[in-house]
Symmetry: C2
Subunit: 461 residues, 2 copies
């Protein structure tokens, strides 16, 4: 109760502080609402659904947002893609196909939980260049992680979730950030960033991106799962018998059932359609709608199954709201204002110091964003420009900010749309992400800024 | 399988028929998609969720609608209001308050199922003038109907649903159409209709509306529950012991629990806020969001409870899609085009014939609409103008069309946003509404056109 009161007082104080010169009062009020909403999750005053709903209510009742603006996130393609991916993932699990793929993975890599974590990450890193939507990729990986956890008797919303599932979910979740940083084509906003960098005379393409990225990203991919293993450990670490048992299970299962066949075909179709969606400019969300429609029409996933998936709705509600609040904060000019202020502060600093401050602030800023795309579009140009004026080597700064746009994805639960499936799985609590995601982001920052910077200086001197 | 193929062939034929002169090809294609979607539900080729998803997918992949247009329904205030009302209703039931109110009703009116149906309808007719949103009203009545059914051991998605729940749900659902027809202020679009009628020189206000409406509406309210009782009968008709048992249960329950108290306060707040929302121009949907937020924050309704409410999501998906398809059909001019064509056909007919044709076509047109508001805004003016030119007495026609805008609400499952809670309850199948809702609409049409017309001719001669 005390926490609730303190958070509300904090919000009220912020609200009544006059907006700093140059910031629209409406933007300031929205900032007060948004940051109070986030803090009430961080400090566990309210759960993320309640906090978001109150954020929405206050933004409408105070007239800060019009109802039609405040509700707009609910029809955003990304939000609907997440909802569809969530339901499709459940169908993949229910059909038995998820279990089969999981058993195949366990039979190869299942001696240790850490080994499973690494194998999940390796899979992601390899398939990533074909998936320009990291959200779609999370829709492919999530059901496999889910099935691996279930096959090891680690169940969601249950004490056994910490046995293995929470760890694997977490590794796969932040792994998507790393795989997105590795390839120009692994994340929708990377090419947009390259285009913005181009306006500053930098030529960033598929080839020099992978050259720049592979050293710090692979180091992170090797180090960070082990870090997570220490700070957010699975209760069950060694499962020497698991591969043999998995093989037995597989031979008991026999050949694919009708439902598995249908799911395999639909799933392969989704993989293909998502991979080719940019070439043929097909909307990614409608592909997901079609996939779900086929799975329900063929009774692989039934109406009774959907009736149990209220979690998808609750996730949709909180994510749509946070997404909208952050979008309007950006639209109202709050983000660029702070970016511009920062650029002024950098005048006269040595470039290495300016570089560190810029990247650190860029990463910290992600607490305010509910979309990597929105973050990059709002701030990447501002920060790149400010850094170049301050004498930071342009390629160094550009690549580092582009990598950061991906590796900071787990700094908050809502930091990336591809976190959402993992968090709504019932294996990871939103509050936990603030702690462990924050730590992992810090570690990524340190690796990229040290090894990554050294490598970039070597290659792009 | 044959049905699926036939429906698809029908849709393809319609698609490739050239658009009639004067209709935009895009509007014609959308019409083909929409009507095929509806038919595949009517003829049970697909369930309403699958049919709607395929409708959405086809409309996007063929380029008939842009993705951003096709998804727009998901952020519509009415859709979100339904989702919130759905969850709040579940909280009212879970808290025990719904059960208490239900037991109070049963202890008074519970000797027969028909008696309960009448008492529900009477409640609605009496509270309606204070509720300009019939959707909000459905959010208040639905949990009570649900609890009455549950208290009589009639459970949703279960054979026992037909014992009592299906009947009561159906009576309450179409009862909202009648209560909305009775009062100018019982439905958001009634005043808009009065304003349009004013452009034709007609003065429609609270007083002459109730004068015009009470005779046919009360006759319908007396006759139609009995009609439903015959065509869609409850398996359990007499429960002579129920009132006594209900009283016993009530005394066993003792005084209100913590959860009941909180729910009662929140529920009363909702009643008040919805009733006053037009006076203070408060968004009705945000009131519902606040109500849910309070119930979750106080743990009356928990995250575990929401996890089970996948039905709300599935309802949201199909209703948002149908709503959007219909909205764009109207936006693309399809509706007014057909209305104009009709007006041409009426030239030279006697006015009574023109009157009957106009009202009948106006009612049948509702198969194409997923919103009473959209229907009235698209067609009321066109039909009123055509009828006045054909010599139909203006007040007679205006009132009859305004009443029809309300009593045709159950002609399809998606015919009114206030049907949605009832249909997603698990007591009524969407397909059943096409049959029984169609019959009840026909009966309403006959009562209003005979008794109602005679009364209107007497009063507004």
């Amino acid at each position: 109760m005390l926490k609730k009161v303190l958070i509300l007082l904090f919000g009220l104080c912020l609200w009544f502080i006059p907006a700093p010169e140059g910031i629209d009062p409406q933007a300031w009020h929205l900032f007060a609402i948004f940051i109070t909403t986030i803090f009430s999750v961080v400090f566990n005053a309210f759960n993320i659904l309640v906090a978001s709903i109150f954020g929405l209510v206050v933004s409408i009742l105070t007239g800060t947002l019009e109802p039609v603006e405040a509700y707009s996130g609910f029809s955003d393609g990304i939000i609907l893609l997440i909802v569809m991916a969530f339901l499709i993932a459940k169908a993949v699990v229910k059909s038995g196909l998820g279990n089969r793929i999981a058993l195949m993975m366990i039979s190869r890599f299942g001696h240790t939980t850490l080994g499973l974590g690494y194998s999940l990450m390796a899979t992601d890193l390899l398939i990533a260049p074909a998936f320009p939507s990291n959200t779609a990729r999370s829709g492919l990986l999530f059901p496999i992680v889910f099935s691996v956890s279930e096959s090891n008797d680690s169940h969601p919303n249950h004490p056994s979730s910490k046995d293995m599932g929470s760890f694997l979910m977490f590794v796969s979740m932040f792994g998507i950030g790393l795989s997105s940083a590795l390839w120009l084509t692994a994340m929708a906003v990377n090419p947009a960033g390259a285009a913005i960098a181009n306006e500053f005379g930098l030529n960033i393409h598929f080839g020099n991106w992978i050259l720049a990225a592979f050293v710090p990203t692979l180091v992170s991919a090797i180090v960070l799962p082990y870090v997570v293993y220490r700070i957010y450990p699975p209760n069950i670490k060694n499962t020497p018998e698991a591969p043999r048992k998995a093989k037995e299970h597989l031979s008991e299962m026999g050949s694919l059932s009708r439902d598995e066949w249908i799911t395999a075909v639909v799933f392969s179709f989704l993989v293909l359609a998502w991979a080719l969606s940019d070439v043929f400019s097909i909307d990614k969300t409608v592909v997901a709608f079609l996939g779900l429609g086929l799975l329900v029409a063929t009774q692989v996933f039934t109406m009774d199954d959907i009736r149990k998936e209220g979690e998808a709705l609750s996730t949709m509600i909180w994510f749509a709201i946070l997404y909208t609040l952050s979008t309007y904060l950006s639209k109202l000019g709050f983000m660029t204002y702070v970016g511009d202020m920062l650029a002024l502060q950098l005048l006269g600093l040595s470039w290495p110091l300016a570089f560190v401050i810029l990247v650190a602030v860029y990463v910290l800023f992600h607490y305010l964003f509910v979309s990597q795309t929105a973050h990059l579009l709002a701030l990447f140009g501002v920060f790149l420009g400010a850094g170049i004026s301050a004498g930071v080597p342009p390629y160094l700064l550009a690549f580092m900010l582009l990598f950061a746009t991906n590796f900071f994805s787990v700094i908050t639960p809502q930091g990336s749309s591809c976190n959402i499936l993992y968090i709504s799985s019932g294996y990871i609590k939103p509050q936990e992400v603030y702690t462990y995601g924050g730590l992992v982001t810090l570690m990524s920052f340190l690796i990229y800024m040290s090894i990554g910077s050294a490598w970039l200086m070597l290659v792009f001197h």
